[in-house]
Symmetry: C2
Subunit: 722 residues, 2 copies
């Protein structure tokens, strides 16, 4: 408009290609800047005794900026040495057989110019993988890959020196998906009354004694998705966007990527600890999935559900016999294909869970009535569960949702909320776990999902529901007399760049006839005023802190750095979750414009987006997110740290560090105790009888599309949510 | 564009007027929803012994939605009672004379419709003020105003029960103005190298053991400015936008509003503690000003500077003899008017400070060489000081700035940074304070100022300079062997709704010829990549963590919910701070458009703003901000609390709570000790010889414009920064 741009086009593109090896956003392989790749890569930390896989890849690009002769060296070797010790080959070190050589190829674009020109770079790969190894002795290790004769890639690994003392019996981990400090502040404003600058009540989170910040970035990019951020929180290993419980490799198979154990797997293996998974998302979604799934592709929802009950069956791995509780949405990954289910191996997973002894419940009434001494699967809707705002205020929106969990097209209009699910989960876990203790993850998934679609009201409603759930969970733990032996954590997996910057006089906004005049409705600073959400109106929700008026004249001026084209009327969307951007007839399906239906109250302001036009919603942001801690070990969680440290701190508190005994008689600490033999540094040699040993049959052997060369995978997306 | 708006216009406006008493953004008087007003208002907390003023106002609107007969009741009475005690008149309670009745009128608009129609509501006021009182006994108090016969307004006050034990000798308080967690995360990304998801170094802030969040909102609006947020941090009393060290009243005089004592004033009064003020802003700006200034109008810069050396001279107040150190910009409020100074009473404040024994320095070289045993005033530029990025990378921008601190039009091209100023301040305070201890406030002011103009690079540069200053200050305190007796705090006064949501391929962006195609340059999630700021380039800044390349191909996709019209090219502004929006010839001066010069690198994307078109820059946001704490009392600063609690925690740590003795022999605790007599609850009766007693001569008696009726004040703005 005010500038003249210089279309440099193809000429610029070609001169740039020479430099794209340094390009940071289009990566050949994010964890490997050289042609010899060790996974786990450099700078990784491990919990003592935590199982993991090792993979080596040798890359031979056949074209592009790093072109070689295209023949990857197959005579590479990998050695491992503990600091000060002798280097041994990896097979020698772990007393395992030398694995078979694997080969494949993949392709990628070096930058956007290359993508526009459709000139992919193709890479041939030679690889080996060592499965289920573990390091027990704390300290530094060096893994050295030698290839192409004298080329070397060195990976520094570190086993943390964490004492094996169990300090908590239980862990209750709340995750507000996508929840930032900014959102907590906004939720407090609309949910709690303030008089002359003093809140008359505050959030349950505000009352936690210890506060930390954790860094959410991926291993290879600075913006994460929920799959690899959940992986980091649960396993102490950062990974790549879309990966669950594995480091990404470049192979086409989404199930052969190098795995590492999650806190749930270790806790269950070491202590027989009981696990509960609760989410308002479809339950195969990333945040619940990352406890048991080990796949490069979070979109393999059917396999994710299978992993929840069977664990990892295609390779030797931790034994697993299913959580005590799974509560959430996502019926489509359980229902028989006859009624439209999209399940693993086309099986009926309701039947599989029932056959495994699970009690099945499908609505809020049944959930409340169900006994607390049985393993329970509660699936309450197809897809993501209904939002707090629709369940409690705009209830008509549940009619016609066709989300009944039997997948037969009826409505799911009797869904529980996060609070009801979590309190029941606590009851069940507490009655079943006995001295072994329990670990429950409870996720407010739609903070994220509603922020993605810029539906600030619903997102803040979900956040307030999470806070209400926390409040009632604490009370319930006290009633059950287990509060003092339960570590309670509240955190998030990443942020969205949301904040509130004033108020909006929605009456004035509507009364103006052009966008520039409408903007005057935004009240800044001294004109931002008080919150009208809590001071007026008639809505009351028992004893809880929620807005009493979701549709006041003066609303919040709020928003995002990251957004698609949109129309902002800054009023609640009474008809259900917002759809900010849509395709316009006659344009490409990846060319989104502001949704003309997205100002149901009339008179919104139209904005062009900051994201690629292929984006129909907002995206995640960089910001560190908060960790609130209360209970045993709370003192570990103060200050600023990396997301992986949340895992190490939880593991420390649960006594999961399997360090060698120091001559004082085994690991009898904490709840439940244990005694076992162990061979340090030996594959599978922990003296327990594992059902699966050695390389099992790949679960997804020849599935169409996956074994083809080329890396331009189409990861499945569900509503495009990350 | 896609919607049809309904211009309801005047008809809607008139129907709405009946309801505007509930309107939250256009307030008659924010702390007083009724017609009888007590200040301090309901819900206020006090430190025991903290001086404050009381004001009562009776309002009689003559028109508008609350119209009365227009005659305010002059026979009102105010009583005070301690919980369980007998109510006494305020004059009786504090053994003071009954003050004289004051009257005035003011006007305001009830909402935007009224402002458009220029139909102000006018209010007649009757008022009394009781000056410099204090409450000493911890507990609850009730102030009851009776007016119009039987109408009552009740204010609940609370004196916190804080032990009088001094736990720290010194306090070093860093303020990153406008700094949020999101910005710290972004600064870490561009200033610290990461390998496979592990930072190889981290921020100094990241190493603080204790983390808290504080709520920044005003007493009467949810978005604050820096004046009243600094007031809350320093004094434990939230106030109104633009107010420093006072509760706002409605009178036209900006110097008669009810005051309260700041932490610096109390510390200096009780212990003779030494004070240092350091800022990269003009030093009369809000954050340094709020320690000594007591005015409704932060724009009274000359008077602010006078308060720094003389304290409050128009009313009985705490004795004050000036900080040991004042370092910053803002020469214009010191220079003689003969060379363009804008000073209090047209005096030469350089001369006044010199006469008071201050050593004066004007540039970085002189600062370094100046002795550490003298009171020192260092003023290094007209206006705000140069930014780190311009001082260190784009140094040519300092040429021609005409900011020489003698105000004679030369360049200020030898300015120190925040680090140099803060380390020298520590030296001076430490050598001068002896056993009395010191309190230094060091402000990175231009985090805020550069975020206001959407100059993300400069803002993050300032943040990294702050972090570097913290790092070196900790080292220096250790060298001086006072680290263990110094509480170090890092916090902010408010946020800006900033976050990073991806990377930008600036080459690709420039090569496209329309805005929609340009947006494809934004890399989300797996395409966000690594930071290129730290991995490439040649810039090196001694031992510190700053970007080595400020102008990489792949930059950050970042931004704001709140912004004026703008052009984003997502590249560093090499010519100096960004000017995002300008007037366009032929339009109103309050009608801002994207600055056509604001894409110096070419090819930016044009966005319409989210703020009123009168905004030429971004605005503050709601988010809670971080408190980092290290040192004595650090444990007080964990968790989530209100901004005022920062004051109470500092006061607790410094032993400033003047609670009655409990029979064990006076207040001899901590460093320096003290012994004094005190009459609880008595005006001015603390047994010390104050220079000023009784109602002094109003400093600004008949200044033009201020004693006229009407409240539509034009507060002075400097570059429009908040």
């Amino acid at each position: 408009m005010y500038f003249s741009s210089s279309p440099l086009g193809v000429a610029l593109a070609s001169t740039l290609l020479a430099a794209v090896a340094q390009a940071q956003t289009y990566q050949r392989f994010g964890t490997c800047p050289t042609l010899g790749c060790v996974i786990p890569p450099d700078q990784q930390d491990f919990l003592a005794g935590q199982y993991f896989d090792i993979r080596v890849e040798i890359h031979a690009p056949i074209n592009g900026s790093e072109a070689t002769n295209g023949v990857p060296d197959e005579n590479f070797s990998l050695t491992i040495a503990k600091a000060g010790g002798r280097a041994k080959t990896v097979s020698e070190y772990f007393e395992s057989e030398e694995p078979e050589l694997e080969t494949w190829d993949f392709s990628y674009y070096e930058d956007l110019f290359a993508e526009d020109a459709d000139t992919p770079s193709v890479v041939n790969v030679a690889s080996k993988a060592w499965r289920r190894v573990a390091l027990y002795e704390p300290g530094d290790y060096v893994a050295t890959l030698t290839y192409n004769g004298t080329e070397q890639t060195v990976a520094h690994w570190h086993v943390r020196d964490i004492e094996h003392v169990r300090k908590t019996k239980n862990v209750l981990l709340f995750i507000g998906d996508g929840m930032t400090t900014n959102m907590i502040t906004a939720a407090r404003l609309i949910g709690h009354k303030s008089i002359n600058g003093r809140y008359q009540s505050t959030m349950a989170m505000d009352k936690f004694p210890v506060l930390g910040h954790q860094m959410t970035h991926s291993i290879d990019t600075f913006i994460t998705d929920s799959a690899n951020s959940a992986t980091a929180l649960y396993s102490g290993h950062k990974s790549t966007v879309n990966a669950l419980g594995v480091y990404a490799d470049t192979s086409p198979d989404p199930f052969d990527d190098p795995k590492f154990e999650s806190v749930a797997e270790i806790f269950h293996r070491m202590y027989g600890g009981h696990i509960g998974l609760v989410s308002t998302a479809f339950i195969a979604d990333a945040t619940p999935a990352a406890f048991t799934a080990h796949t490069r592709d979070r979109g393999e929802y059917g396999a994710v559900i299978d992993s929840m009950i069977h664990g990892t069956i295609n390779y030797t791995w931790t034994n697993w016999d299913g959580p005590d509780v799974i509560f959430g949405g996502g019926a489509e990954n359980f229902c028989s294909p006859e009624v439209g289910g999209e399940t693993y191996m086309d099986l009926d997973y309701y039947q599989i869970f029932a056959d495994a002894g699970y009690n099945l419940v499908y609505n809020a009434t049944a959930l409340e009535a169900t006994p607390s001494d049985e393993k329970t699967l509660g699936i309450f809707s197809v897809g993501n569960m209904a939002k707090w705002l629709d369940r409690n205020v705009y209830k008509d929106n549940l009619n016609g949702n066709e989300a009944a969990p039997n997948c037969e097209g009826g409505d799911a209009n009797n869904q529980p909320g996060l609070k009801e699910m979590t309190l029941k989960a606590i009851d069940i876990l507490n009655s079943r776990a006995g001295d072994k203790g329990w670990f429950i993850m409870s996720e407010a998934a739609s903070v994220d999902k509603m922020m993605h679609v810029l539906d600030y009201d619903r997102a803040l409603g979900e956040l307030l529901e999470l806070d209400d759930t926390i409040k009632h969970s604490i009370e319930h733990l006290k009633e059950l007399d287990v509060f003092k032996e339960t570590l309670i954590l509240v955190t998030a997996d990443h942020g969205h760049g949301f904040d509130v910057f004033g108020s909006v006089d929605t009456h004035y906004l509507k009364a103006q006839d052009n966008d520039r005049d409408k903007r005057r409705a935004v009240g800044q600073y001294e004109k931002s005023g008080h919150s009208q959400y809590i001071n007026t109106g008639e809505l009351r929700y028992s004893d809880s802190n929620f807005p009493s008026n979701w549709d006041p004249r003066y609303t919040l001026a709020q928003g995002f750095g990251a957004n698609p084209d949109r129309v902002e009327d800054y009023q609640v969307n009474k008809d259900g979750p917002r759809v900010p951007a849509t395709n316009i007839t006659g344009f490409d399906e990846d060319d989104y414009f502001a949704n003309p239906e997205d100002s149901p109250n009339g008179g919104g302001i139209t904005y062009n987006g900051t994201l690629p036009v292929s984006a129909d919603q907002g995206v995640h942001s960089l910001t560190d997110v908060t960790v609130f801690a209360m209970g045993p070990c709370q003192e570990l969680f103060g200050g600023v740290y990396n997301s992986i440290d949340v895992f190490f701190k939880m593991a420390e508190c649960l006594g999961l560090s399997d360090v060698p005994d120091k001559g004082h008689g085994g690991h009898g600490h904490g709840w439940g105790g244990k005694g076992k033999g162990r061979n340090w540094g030996k594959v599978g040699g922990d003296g327990k009888g594992y059902e699966h040993y050695g390389e099992g049959k790949p679960r997804y052997g020849g599935k169409g599309g996956w074994n083809q060369g080329g890396r331009k995978r189409e990861f499945k997306k569900r509503n495009g949510y990350h």
